[in-house]
Structure formats: structure tokens, C-alpha cells
Symmetry: C2
Subunit: 244 residues, 2 copies
């Protein structure tokens, strides 16, 4: 088996941010069209309008947790519902997609460090399936349950699976400079600190500063691009911003 591609479909790309628990049907169909026919692929999708409002309601973030079962299940079930809708669109295009719910596999230690075992994903890939993970909740030592972001899943899996390529399909065509032009390549955070904010920028929602920092630490090339460029990325090109 060749090294897989890890592709994240941003939650804001595939859902309607302004309406609770509503997919953006056209965007999701375009993404599913692009994915069809590609293999050695792991998909991760964010929560968008499915997970975020439940997380806000219960005051749960990647660091602040809850022990309330109702909160845990509201967030988890909303994310599973979105995952089911994504799977359905993929199955309609004969993509052999199977669900992997991170809450069933992952945990955090007391300092928030994530363990996401990847043997199940490796075996699914080797057997020809396309595993589809999603932003979720995660059991967190000392906190109960916290949020697990799609971006964290992407970087954890990319390292565990020794991925050949990492792609983040976003609502923007790449990392933008002060004049709204795509920055083609970023090799150090200092290159973009004046555009994205300093190293101490708060970025709880998984915004661009956090993505760039995390991808720089990954040690393999990653691309951030828009939905228009998803076909190009899956065909082996490096659209948008390359972070290496």
C-alpha cells in the first residue's frame, strides 16, 4: 500500500454556517464528486453548523470540558448525523466510505495531549475502504469530555499513517496576505505573523493562524485551498498555499 492522502473537508465548506444542522448540499455534492474514483484516501470533516452550537451551549472547547452526559451526547450525535450525510453522498458515488467516530477511539491526557490509535484506519485503507472521521468529543483526563477538532485529527493521522500528502479544503482559496492574495508557500510562521497575528494569537475556533502553526510542525507538505481546487489537489497538484 502506498502512503495515503489525508484530506480535510472544512466544516464551514460542507455545512450552512447560518442554519443549525444544515448541510450545504451543493458544496457537499461537489466535494463528493471530486473524491469519487480516488483511493488511498482518509477523509476528515469538521463540524460546521452541526457541532459548534451544541459545544457553545455546554461551554465545551478543546480545553474546557463537561461531565454532563446530555452535553456529550448532543455534540457527539450531531457530529454523527453530519457524518452519516457525508457518507450517504459518498456512497451515491460508489466511494467505499466507512465511518470512524473519534470519540470511540481517542483520549486526551491531563495536559490535553491527544492519543488517536490508527490501526483501524490503516487496516481499512489496506482493505480498500475510505475511512471518514470527523470533529467530535473526546474523553479528557480531569476534564470529562472536551472537543476534538478536525484539524487535530488530521495532524495526528498524518503523522501516524506517515501520509504522503495532507490537504485542507477550506472556505478560502489559501492563506491570504494583506491584499487578499493567496500566499503560495509558507516555510516559517514568521513569514506570515504580520498577516495572521503574533505567536500568542488566541485561536480557539481552529482559525488560520492555528492551522498554519500546526501544519508547520507536521514535517510534511500540506496544502490549504478552496473547493474549486479540490480536483487539482486530488490529481496531485499543489493548489492554494503550500505549508512545508
Amino acid at each position: 500500500m502506498s502512503a495515503p492522502t489525508v484530506l480535510k473537508l472544512g466544516g464551514s465548506v460542507i455545512t450552512d454556517k447560518d442554519r443549525a444542522e444544515t448541510v450545504d448540499g451543493r458544496a457537499l455534492a461537489r466535494a463528493a464528486d471530486a473524491v469519487a474514483g480516488h483511493d488511498d484516501l482518509v477523509l476528515v470533516h469538521g463540524g460546521g453548523s452541526f457541532g459548534h452550537h451544541h459545544a457553545q451551549e455546554y461551554g465545551v472547547s478543546t480545553s474546557d470540558g463537561t461531565h454532563e452526559v446530555d452535553g456529550v451526547l448532543d455534540i457527539h450525535n450531531a457530529m454523527k448525523a453530519l457524518n452519516g450525510l457525508v457518507l450517504r453522498r459518498l456512497h451515491e458515488r460508489d466511494v467505499p466510505a466507512v465511518p470512524v467516530h473519534p470519540f470511540s477511539a481517542a483520549s486526551r491526557d491531563e495536559s490535553g495531549g491527544l492519543t488517536l490509535p490508527a490501526g483501524q484506519v490503516e487496516t481499512m485503507l489496506a482493505e480498500g475502504f475510505v475511512p471518514v472521521l470527523h470533529g467530535d468529543v473526546v474523553a479528557h483526563a480531569g476534564e470529562g469530555v472536551t472537543v476534538l477538532s478536525g484539524d487535530e485529527i488530521v495532524t495526528s493521522l498524518a503523522a501516524s499513517l506517515d501520509a504522503s500528502r495532507v490537504g485542507l479544503c477550506s472556505t478560502v482559496p489559501g492563506v491570504l496576505d494583506g491584499e487578499e492574495n493567496v500566499i503560495p508557500r509558507i516555510e516559517a510562521y514568521d513569514d506570515v505573523a504580520d498577516v495572521l497575528g503574533g505567536a500568542d494569537t488566541t485561536d480557539v475556533s481552529g482559525g488560520m493562524a492555528g492551522k498554519v502553526r500546526t501544519l508547520l510542525a507536521l514535517g510534511m507538505p500540506a496544502s490549504i485551498f478552496g473547493l474549486d481546487a479540490l480536483d487539482a489537489f486530488l490529481d496531485g497538484e499543489s493548489p492554494g498555499t503550500t505549508i512545508a
Copy 2:
């Protein structure tokens, strides 16, 4: 945290074997009543009338697999539906139950050996939740996807979590001798080979011979008992048959 108890609720106990995808509401309510108020507890339930007929339809067993996504999802979704019904009964009794879907966590190697990471379950337990796992499908090297039985999950978790006690709540009050009396204690398979069949007995459905063999290999005391004795087991007694 003290060492947890791993309790299996047999699929035949909590579902109506004769009707597809139907729970035995009274039995499930009794089990949920018994569980309420106990902690340091991991629950595992079998498939009963939810999983088995789909598995049969696609010719999938613990050793013979499928690469058909429809088959994988039919079995997996049926088991998740049953898990949701079990969780609902537990939540009605304020049990802080959370789902753990084994297909999202486990894998088998080419010889069928199971890896089921348990860090998520350990963290859930430490945070006061009651993890509820279930018989499921599992990615299996060379086979696609095979069945993962509740009994396999119980023995894997009991070892990983260094459980203090293991209980199998079954449709019978224990392992029965030739005269339908419960055998109180089994310390070697030879003790019961004349009742359960020789060491080469085929036992694909996870019947009693397989359970006894697996529990003997576990190296910690396990109890097999009926629903009438579930309260006694959870109160620390050793009803039915003790396998040690």
C-alpha cells in the same frame, strides 16, 4: 480508580430473537434497573436479533469477511441502533452511559488477532462515565471486514483494563450439566468437555463452549449467570457458574 467490572449483556437477553431488530423491552429495563447506581463499570452488549441476520445475509462471520460497503454498514448501523436503545434505557435511570463503537477503534491482523485499544475506555471510566460497547464489525487484514463478537470485546477489555470482575449475563442461569443443573465452578475445560463437547467443537455463534474456553484463558474469575442474578453479581456475589 479501582479496577473496573466488565459486564456483558447477552444479545439474546436484551433482544427478541424471533423478531428482527426488536428489543426485549422488559429484559432491557430489568438490566438497566440493575446497572443503575453502580460505577466503575464497562458494559458490552451482543447483537441478538439486530446484528445476526445482517451478518448471515452477507455471509460474514468472525473469520469470513466482506469488502461490500453495504454489508459493512447494514451490520454496523443495526448494532449502533441497538446501542442507542440500550443507552436510552440507561439514561432514563441517570446512568452516565456513553457509546463506544468498536468498528471505530479495533482491527484484526491477518491471523484474526484482535487489537482493541482501551485508552478511551480507561479515560471515560476515570471521568465517571459508563462506556457501553457492542458486538460489531471490524476491519480485518486480508478479509475486508469481519464480525467482532461481544465475547471477544469482553475478554480483550478485561485484560487491557485489568478488570476486577467479569460477568456474562446470559439466557441461562449458568453452565448446565447433563441434568440441567448449574455447574458452580469450572477450573479446566476437561471438567465440562463431556457436557459442552470436545475441544474441537465448532462454535461460530459464540455459544457456551467458546465462552468457557475463552474465560478459562483469561486468568481472572468470571461469572456466567442469568438476568435474575444480575443484581447479585453487581452487589459483589458470584452467582451462576464461576470460571476461574
